[in-house]
């Protein structure tokens, strides 16, 4: 049986890394090894998980410095004998060991505009053409693992920005509302408000780490930024608006 050399964060903010050796079986993922560690050596190790299938978004942690889902990282990815460092998400307050308090994200969720659907057709149905909704389908894959929120340097390195920045996960949500074919929110409530979009310098770390492969920057953030350009910075539109007296 191969042996994993783990270096795991233990404790709270003033905790420390503790090294462990754990035997594991072939085909295991990092979370399996953490569970084995918990079962054999450290029954008090705090780790959050649920589905072990990359779908609940609970087991986010930093593995060798990269935000990841512990249940989706196969042990084969790490050369045998090398130390694997496991840390909690560094952007959020630590509760204990590998578990952080991600409540800030729930605050951002509450601040998002709600979808306001157009009235239904006369027969009581609402109809959308496939062509109008397929762009937004990618956004619905989000599992709210908050790995993108964790990696985003706007708040990771500058926590003071947390007050005015919703973060990539919520730009995805904002995009799905702003692009919805039946939504009636005003531009002011979505695009103009922006939710701190200007802080993002499209350096794409969120996209790099998203376990669902959502093109967060290309398909949500940049299109939102471009809608803001439409509103405030496009020379042709500014002239057109002046000429027609609209907008």
């Amino acid at each position: 049986m191969p042996t994993a050399h783990l270096r795991v964060w233990r404790g709270t903010d003033d905790g420390e890394y503790v090294e462990y050796e754990v035997e594991y079986d072939e085909g295991m993922v990092v979370l399996d090894v953490v569970h084995r560690l918990q079962a054999t050596q450290t029954p008090d190790l705090a780790v959050r998980w649920n589905c072990k299938a990359g779908k609940c978004g609970s087991c986010s942690a930093e593995i060798n410095g990269k935000p990841r889902l512990q249940c989706m990282q196969r042990m084969e990815l790490y050369p045998e004998g090398e130390t694997i460092t496991l840390a909690p998400l560094k952007t959020f307050p630590i509760i204990r060991d590998l578990v952080t308090n991600v409540a800030w994200n729930y605050d951002q969720a509450r601040a998002m505009p709600e979808l306001r659907l157009r009235p239904a057709d006369a027969d009581g149905n609402r109809r959308m053409a496939q062509i109008d909704i397929d762009r937004g389908q990618e956004f619905h894959k989000c599992i709210e693992c908050y790995i993108c929120q964790d990696v985003c340097h706007v708040i990771r390195d500058h926590p003071e920005n947390m007050a005015g920045f919703a973060g990539p996960r919520f730009f995805v949500q904002l995009a799905s509302i702003a692009m919805h074919p039946l939504d009636t929110n005003t531009r002011r409530a979505t695009v103009d408000h922006g939710f701190g979009l200007d802080y993002c310098n499209i350096t794409k770390c969120c996209t790099d780490v998203c376990p669902e492969g959502i093109h967060i920057t290309d398909n949500a953030i940049i299109p939102l930024k471009e809608r803001r350009v439409d509103e405030f910075h496009d020379p042709l539109r500014i002239i057109a608006r002046k000429l027609t007296g609209r907008g």
């Binding site: 053409a129 350009v229 439409d230 910075h233 042709l236």
Partner: protein, 259 residues
């Protein structure tokens, strides 16, 4: 065994990444620097270094279209009248922004690597708010596509000899093609053509715009690739035309006389 606490990890460059995260910003930063230095030298010294072969067969893309008003002093390189447009377009491009924010501003140097700046205010404040001018530059960049294709097509016709092909014609054509891919993959153009719509199905025109959006999206997904290949080829083509025009190298071609 006790090790560094999280408090200590809040220093620049601090990360637990074990891969060579510094390699990408290093390569990207060096690549951009080489190009900026080369194009400045080539563009500014334009008047001292032939940029057009005889009979106008090959004209360096840095000088296309050639604008040379009489009243400008001799030292004033015609490239200066051209280069502001591609420089502005690329500087405000979403891909290049990512590249130089990471490589030069170290903001962040790589994902999950601590950045040096003590505070950060993003693209909402001066000077970065000027990045919004990308839309303006995009409109100008669209004009350059036919202009560069025109230069490429011209390079297959030598006065007095007629149609033919040389290494220079090939380079100019590849340059125009890669620049086209780079431009149609522009995020701003992709948005402009249909990205702002929510109901594509409403009218045939909107369906058509959506179709174009899909096509531009194919180029957009590889925007970084087109950004680099088009950058490299334009530099290589410019250098090649200079070398041929100043008779340092001979252009292999199908024409019989000297070009």
């Amino acid at each position: 065994m006790a090790q560094a606490s999280t408090a200590l990890e809040r220093r620049y460059g601090d990360t637990q990444r074990t891969d060579r995260w510094w390699l990408e910003p290093l390569l990207v930063g060096s690549g951009l620097l080489i190009f900026v230095v080369y194009s400045t030298v080539s563009g500014v010294l334009g008047e001292y270094w032939a940029f057009e072969t005889e009979h106008g067969l090959y004209l360096s893309p840095f000088f296309e279209p050639l604008i040379h008003p009489e009243f400008l002093p001799d030292w004033f390189s015609p490239a200066i009248l051209i280069l502001w447009a591609p420089i502005g377009f690329r500087t405000t491009c979403y891909y290049y922004r990512r590249a130089y924010y990471r490589a030069y501003f170290l903001s962040p140097p790589a994902c999950a690597v601590r950045e040096p700046a003590g505070s950060y205010s993003g693209e909402g404040v001066f000077p970065f708010v000027l990045q919004n001018a990308h839309r303006w530059f995009m409109y100008v960049a669209l004009l350059f596509i036919p202009i560069l294709w025109n230069g490429a097509i011209r390079s297959f016709w030598l006065d007095g000899e007629g149609i033919g092909i040389g290494l220079g014609s090939v380079l100019l054509t590849v340059n125009a093609a890669l620049l086209t891919m780079y431009t149609i993959g522009c995020h701003s153009l992709r948005h402009w053509v249909a990205g702002g719509l929510n109901q594509f199905s409403r009218t045939p025109l909107r369906r058509l715009r959506r179709r174009l959006w899909e096509i531009f999206t194919i180029a957009n997904e590889h925007h970084r690739l087109w950004a680099w290949t088009s950058l490299i080829i334009v530099g290589v083509t410019d250098l090649y035309v200079h070398l041929v025009a100043s008779e340092v190298v001979t252009d292999p071609n199908t024409w019989s006389g000297p070009i």
